[in-house]
Symmetry: C2
């Protein structure tokens, strides 16, 4: 039983694995539209675009919480229910550090900033994939 | 920049990190009830219990897909929409191997079997946490 994890990968900057297709949904889109986007792209969260760039994140978890609350999914707008207090990392932070942020903050997605601008998003799947890649 | 991953943790059997509270919802529960369970427990998936034990898994992703489809969440039963083709591991499989199964099968949860019985479930979060634990 040999199980070696790729230490080099763990130390790489997160920018090497982030997704940089941003603002997948708009602030006035309905939660139903966001669910369709999440399903079509098989992703766990989308960035919500505002007039000046991304203004929040909406995740599968958020949608499920709204379902549990009995919210009106066709009339609830993305901007009203998105998370704006984003867990974020710098493009130069290591993949392992971003993974630790996910565990500590109980989130599956971290937005990636360069200076003060959001330039990408990274998922727990991306982090795990990178850590196991060298095996 | 030092980033060391816990190789010993990666080689541990998955049974050391699995959750063994099973059958959180019943087969006739509605999708809305399942969403409430997922939200209350802050988990990404539940095992669906049948008369003889767990018969499937229902995840956040499944709920979001049903929302996208416009399904009737109060009348759709767990057993009708759950995943029965479960990605499973043996209690003795290593944590790293279970992580690889998640990546390859694009799932966030793997059920854990001992002989032919489901005895637990493990999430991507549990795997990542274990890999980063020794750092």
């Amino acid at each position: 039983m040999t199980d070696t994890i790729d230490r080099d990968a763990a130390a790489q900057p997160v920018k090497t694995i982030m997704r940089d297709t941003l603002a997948d949904v708009e602030q006035h889109d309905s939660v139903r539209d966001v669910a369709a986007e999440l399903t079509a792209d098989e992703i766990g969260a989308v960035l919500v675009g505002g007039p000046m760039g991304p203004i929040g994140v909406l995740s599968e978890r958020d949608v499920v919480t709204l379902v549990a609350m009995g919210a009106d999914l066709d009339n609830e707008q993305a901007q009203a229910v998105m998370t704006t207090d984003l867990v974020s990392a710098d493009v130069h932070d290591s993949i392992a550090d971003v993974g630790r942020q996910m565990i500590e903050n109980r989130v599956r997605h971290v937005v990636v900033r360069k200076d003060d601008r959001i330039v990408g998003i990274v998922s727990m799947r991306d982090v795990l994939d990178a850590l196991l890649a060298g095996v």
